[in-house]
Symmetry: C4
Subunit: 361 residues, 4 copies
């Protein structure tokens, strides 16, 4: 990525698609079902038109913010994503280092192919993402491990009671290569993600075996009592759930449809965002996930009620293209685009961006 | 359908199209007029975006329900469809057996190419669909025959005063082959569906000859008194008619535009559904028909006010591809997709699915 | 059109396009400017989705109505169209005879290439369309001539102060052939429509020379006093003008954008219709013009507030393909489609069609 | 452009694209980011459907108006555009002369490649556009120079704190040729626009160096006191800013997203226009900029609340094709189209056009 730098995330995505084996590209870029929600995420973001302000900006707008207690150079965190060594030998070490350099929180996946302890050595601000495993003891152990590793928040993913059926993976008979493992889980549970299952994705089968499909609000309450770390629920779309989250003592919700990978037919995040933000009413942070591909999308999200965004696939595209440099380039690009967007929208700081008005195309 | 199982109904449809003679494919897949309503059915369903709930689901959601008095493994019934032996020698025996295995009601068409008595032997829960024939005596005989055969409900199709003009059939000079007959009707009336009529579909000409074009609410009243079976009116789109149906003692209405085969320009069912459900106000069941192609569509329908859905063409596609195995595969697929959709939407049961919110894309 | 009868107006249009010289096809089928309004007319009609009624129809619905004082076999009149001998030697004689056979009013254009007296001999119910010529004496003479010829209404076209610029005609250097003349006008005024004008349509130049560009409401008042015939204003889109029309003693308004041939950017008729119908409030008839291509469009128009429709280009397409038989085929097709649509929508008569509800796609 | 005159601005654009080197076409025609706003400008204008009036027009509608104190033959001004000698050796002299002939105000860019004094000699009514330079002294000198040259208004562009990133220019490594300079600025500041900058547009780099990125309302206040010329703010989309502008003593606002060249994701001007017009409430003029390509667009803008429009790229397309004749042809075309649109919409004058109603497609 040295001389002919890609100018946009779309450029990076094209490079990644050209470089990756089809089954890996499909695994990363694809969605569930007919990919209706996957497409709707982008269409809905594109349809958010912002009314920029004028004559109230700053020479150098201040894009920094705090996401929970963690400082962020821009209102962006790297979303939790599994098995990143699929895309590059450095895997999570590369993306976390890129996040560290970019000054944004990095969310370590339960299914990380590198341990949280090794990731912590990159110096990134880490949050730990929890898939709720069938074994309560294993959950507790993961929480303790995250605390010990210095993670500054726990992100409970609540939209994966099972894995959404992703036809591309099934058609590709996608399985994990032997050398990519979920570094935080024991070998017994893991082995299943490496064997082909007729008519099914190996990863989906593994998920079904390892994850608890019926996490309840009471489990969130238990976790709230178990840890003093800030708690984030990722995968909220209904404002009634957002209100319940606040009442459960949660510190942030992530409005997400898992990038169109879980319930196909779920609402695009940005359409669900305003009602969620209204229900939360400032009592917790609200982040938008699913579909962010440019700095203007961060602005659109903030103008629609978010405190920040999670960015997923773009970071993986960068990782696939050039490891830490590629992932870093994507974060640099998004940060620069967002700063430019703030400037162009006349926003001196993140608070001003959140006060922008929008119209729907 | 053994080794390379189709993953979606769309896959099955492609296989069926490849296998069927064009005139049969067109007869099944086509619609009336400019096929505006046919296309709008899908577009409108795709535009229903659901807000899934979280942390309130169940490990194994319960997709069972009761449709009228009949138990259903999923809130789905096989829609009444004529002349199924056109698509496979086993015809209705195959689709009914598939319904029996799937545990969902099977609606026997007046124009079934297999008798209701033979269908009953499959063990399926059967409902009998009534086209209102010109002869009141014949109607009465059909009702008695359905009752005697153990049908558990009568489904009166009210949107076929005449058959909608379907240009594909006319262009194909579509006629029934000699060996496919309407097994419940006498030979005299039937013969007309097998002769070419210039500039017209033979089936449309037969319909005009056999069916009463001016069924009235009073006829429904007569039928209500004539039978103690639950009554369903299929083909309601206007909430004023839904209210009249309830006042006529009807037990369920099916919001349907006959799969885009009758009035071209009629509203997509799912756009008409909410007002119908509001007019019915729980006093009868409300089912959605026309356009259901995936388990997520069942979820969309329930979230829009339906108690269940009718599925038509997909079952015929499966039948065409592999007889009872193909039809069964389609029902298994839809049931599995619906269970997954419930799980992903955090719904422990059908009642929870009906409480989901939606936004329109 | 004997053996391979076209099944739809779209079929007839394709046949006409194949048969006509490009410049004639363009003249008939084209619109003004970027043809935005031309396309929007169809899109807006397609987006009108009807909620059919059930169980209240009739075996043979009654599609007859009265348009002003004139009986009509269906709520349809043949729109005024100039110079029909361009398309077939029989010109207006053929289309009027087709209207006579179909039992619908025929509107004779001021720019008819056949005289109103000759047209009257076809037995058609005729209305006479007035372009307001620069010479008041000529207007008065046309009115008297129409009265003497037995015309039953006067249709004043109010949306042609000048002719909309139609790029296709200009690019084609379209001029009238020598043998097609405006039979009601004197030779002097006519000659100009047959000479090429650099960078302009010859017909547009002729219009500018012959027509009064500033007709006023006072002129309508003068005409109201001058004749006892029913008066129709064609080309109303704004409800304020509809109200003024009623106050001027007009008997009907035609909601029209001249088939997308005048102001490009004007609203599609069917979007303007409901507000016009509301403003008129039953004090005059309201007809829809511009975009009607099928019987379902007539139903859509009635359900949106119209008492009837004007049909233009389809009749010319039929004329071009097969003279009186072709034009007749189109009217037969539209009438049959409308009867079918009424039946399918459960409408025993035109009043019932006007009581249908619609939703917008 | 003599014999085969282009009929529409789209024709002129095609000719310009064929004639210009790709990098110049891209510089003129392109937009920022993903060009979402660029495309939305046109889509939003196309979706404004006008309800024309009838019987209230004039034989020769009066399209003249006053824009601020300046008379205008049509409610149109030539937008400020930089470096016009890129497109034709005559540059601004040609476009200003075309504006003089057309009788519309011409806005001289701060980055004009011809001096305001030379432009003034064309006889055009000139307004001077101010980019707020880092040096207050330079701003003051520009204002004085504009006043001395007889400019009748100052147009402060407020939507360029920085230049929007335009991927086409970056990919083309676009730099100004040596012989095209910003004639009002000193050589030191200018030189930077002629050197390639890795991964950046040379013009963007120059903008960053020369322009003040943080102009404030207080600066507008200072300018208001500094000059007695009417003040225009160009680049307002939010009605709150429109209200602030009025309170700052501004005489007009231009609703603009800079032709889709600044914040990608900004609202299309015509969607923002009605709320801005409502906020201004007649206390200042309101002009629409961004996307105007035809006379009907001027009508759409007026019907949506504007007092006039700015036209940019079309004039450059004409300039590129044939210098002063090409630019003049475009303005003649737009004026003729607007007069025709007024006539067709029944508008005797500009006030009547502003009273038209619209519906959204």
């Amino acid at each position: 990525m040295a001389r002919e730098e890609p100018l946009t995330v779309a450029d990076v995505a094209r490079l990644a698609e050209a470089r990756l084996p089809k089954e890996l590209w499909d695994y990363v870029a694809g969605g569930s079902g007919a990919e209706t929600t996957l497409a709707a995420n982008r269409a809905a973001l594109d349809a958010v038109a912002v009314l920029p302000r004028v004559l109230g900006g700053a020479e150098a707008p201040n894009p920094t913010t705090r996401l929970l207690g963690s400082p962020a150079a821009v209102p962006l965190a790297v979303a939790p994503m599994a098995y990143q060594r699929l895309l590059h030998p450095d895997g999570e070490l590369a993306t976390a280092e890129a996040a560290a350099v970019a000054g944004v929180p990095y969310v370590v996946s339960t299914l990380s192919s590198v341990t949280v302890e090794d990731i912590a050595k990159t110096g990134a601000t880490t949050w730990f993402q929890l898939y709720w495993l069938r074994s309560r003891g294993l959950v507790e152990a993961l929480v303790a491990r995250a605390e010990d590793a210095g993670c500054e928040a726990l992100v409970v993913t609540v939209d994966v009671p099972i894995m959404g059926r992703r036809p591309r993976d099934v058609r590709n008979s996608f399985v994990l290569p032997d050398d990519v493992i979920a570094a935080h889980l024991d070998d017994g549970a893991l082995s299943r993600a490496h064997d082909a299952v007729a008519g099914e994705s190996a990863i989906a089968a593994h998920t079904a075996a390892a994850f608890a499909p019926a996490v309840r609000w009471a489990d969130i309450g238990w976790l709230r009592n178990r840890t003093s770390l800030p708690l984030v629920l990722k995968g909220i779309l209904d404002p009634r759930d957002a209100a319940l989250a606040v009442e459960s003592g949660v510190d942030a919700v992530v409005v997400s449809n898992h990038g169109g990978r879980q319930l196909d037919g779920a609402a695009p995040s940005v359409l669900a965002l305003p009602a969620v933000a209204e229900a939360v009413a400032g009592r917790a942070d609200v982040y938008l996930d699913s579909g962010v591909r440019a700095g203007t999308d961060i602005l659109r999200a903030l103008a629609s009620g978010a405190d920040g965004v999670f960015v997923g696939r773009p970071v993986l595209y960068g990782l696939a293209v050039d490891g830490v440099r590629g992932a870093g380039h994507v974060l640099t690009l998004l940060a620069a685009e967002f700063r430019d967007a703030m400037t162009l929208a006349g926003c001196a700081d993140v608070r001003a961006a959140r006060a922008l008005s929008t119209v729907r195309l």
